[in-house]
Amino acid sequence: MAPVSSARLRTLFALFAVLSIVLSARVAYWQTVARPGLLERANGQVRSDEVLHARRGTIFDRSGAILAASVDLRSLYAIPARIRDKQKVADDLGILLGRAAGPIYDRLTSGADWVFIQRRLPEATANAIADLHVDGLGFEEEPKRLYPNGDLAAHLLGFVSDDGAGQDGVEGKYDGILRGTDGKLVAERDPADREIALGLRESVAPRNGADLTLTVDLAIQTSAERELRAAVQRESAVGGSIVVLDPRDGAVRAMASYPTFDPGAVAAAKPEALRDRVVGWAYEPGSVMKAITMAAGLETGVVTPNTTYNDVGYADIGGRRLSNALGRAWGPSTMTQVIEHSANAGAVFVAKKLGEQRLYDALVRFGIGRPTGVDLAGEIGGDVRPLAQWYPVDLGTAAFGQGLTATPLQLATVYAAIANGGTLYRPYVVASWRDADGEHRTAPAAVRRVVSSQTASTLRDMLVSSVDKGLAHGAFLSGFSVAGKTGTAQIPSPDGRYVDDQYISSFAGFVPADDPYMVVVVVLDRPQSRLFGTTTAMSVFRGVAEDTLRYALIQPDRKR
């Protein structure tokens, strides 16, 4: 065997040495400088960062019926490259989705890698599509807020936008506690998108939103909405609202506005339908405000139920003449008859005796001009001008509810205070909420005493007389004592005058008068029967009261 040249050996050795150094350097580079990038690429292939969505809380009525709940619905997506016969798939989907096939086909041929065909499908439709077994079609679950009672209590509940944010009503006001807190899951997944059992797993559990129980009663709400809808349609009114309160603590039993909308399909709603006419709309309430004027008169002792004045059909104040409705003169009248006849001149008579300061104080004490503090989004407070801005005539107009504005909810709290013996309560809608820490109950909040129990009792009797013998007789219920007052208010126009022959009709009352179970305020915006719109408002009151008293098993307090 010939001896190997040592030069060749050295060359070979040198070659290997250089190669080793190069390889080592390369390995060192990958292990140090390029390590984070490589690690990230490797993790990206197996690691998934997933947001664990918190479940939005459910809203129940006071008996436990579901008013709003969130469920995961399936959204249909397509991976067009995997769909062979796109035209046929588009045709089939068009039939099942009730849509034209053309736009679906356009999406499938748009060149996108991944497209949504339709989001949040009804369960039956999703099942029917799944049964097609089309390769390239898939589902992704997305949360959807559903309202099983349709448009019932829509304004009170509010709605949830596509991005999951609560808007208006309870959904808006309590969005923070309904929404919950999302969690996070970091895990390694195999090519089939299954979590690797022995792989990395870091998770932060989501904190679900709290469930709310409202003070609202579904049965009373249904009755209120039925009666209101019928009245607005019968009167061809622009709109209407109704609120039912428990006068004993200010709990809202029902609240509705018409026109209304489906909170599950807000995009289709007309802007006018979205307006909450109970808390987000103020109007000049008219004669229902005479109850405050009279309460102030009785409380300060300037009048008693039997104080008499001579009604000539009008009253002059501040250089202006303020007339009774239809200019009717009632002759010598007691204060009870002022309420019975709803005499504007009588209200001005009381106001003159009170003076501006005391009437203004009474309005403020009853909460007119500032929000009630109800736990609903979008509440406004109405408007009572500061006393310094009052014209002399304002004393007279304010006495019968013109020249100032109030919301129907404010009026309901006023009548609730009269009904319960003189305490103004903050109205509330959420009775309790339940989260991981347990149940939190809302305590009724008495704002202040607005009149003495004696004044409240006297005024109650006067309001009962108004229903038994006066203009509010349309609210009379057989077997029950009803206290109430009608209101027909003129509508201010932008030019500072009042709109001709257009009115807002309202009725505020409570029943049974001696031990009130419910306060109801009904407002109809521009009813076709004009001055007689209060008759329709009273029929709404009667319908709701009859249903509710029967439903709540309230004993009649009078012989039928």
């Binding site: 019926a65 579901i66 709940a69 469920v71 995961d72 369960e123 679950e141 559903l146 099983p148 009672n149 349709g150 019932l152 299954r194 979590e195 690797i196 059992a197 022995l198 579904l218 049965a219 249904t222 009755s223 909405e225 039925r226 077997g479 029967r550 004993q555 009649p556």
Partner: protein, 135 residues
Amino acid sequence: MTTVAFAAPRRYVRARRTAATHRTRSRALPRHVRSASRAVTWELRSFVGASAAIAVAFVLALAYLAGSTGVASVGYEAQRLEAQRDELRRQNDLLQLELARLDSPARIEAEAKRLGLVRVPYVPVVTADPVAAHR
């Protein structure tokens, strides 16, 4: 101590040999054959030892793999069950909503109307006579 033991008389050691040893020795093999035999025995032992070690390592690897596979399978099963649980919860939520829809007073009222039912115009309320109530 050890030195003393190795220094024991040869006769004494021989006397302790068994009869079998005597038989083997009586058929004594040539030296080079005896040496080869010892080498084979050592190689055999080494082979057996190595084989055993490999077998043990193999068994351990198999056990590890079986364990890992078992855990992975259980993990997949757990995920399948979790998905099933989630789907059942979702179905339950949908059924609860359907129940609420069917229980809605407005729907029941509409259905009653469709069936021709009418509202009771008057509900008599019987109040206990005060005298009877005191009994």
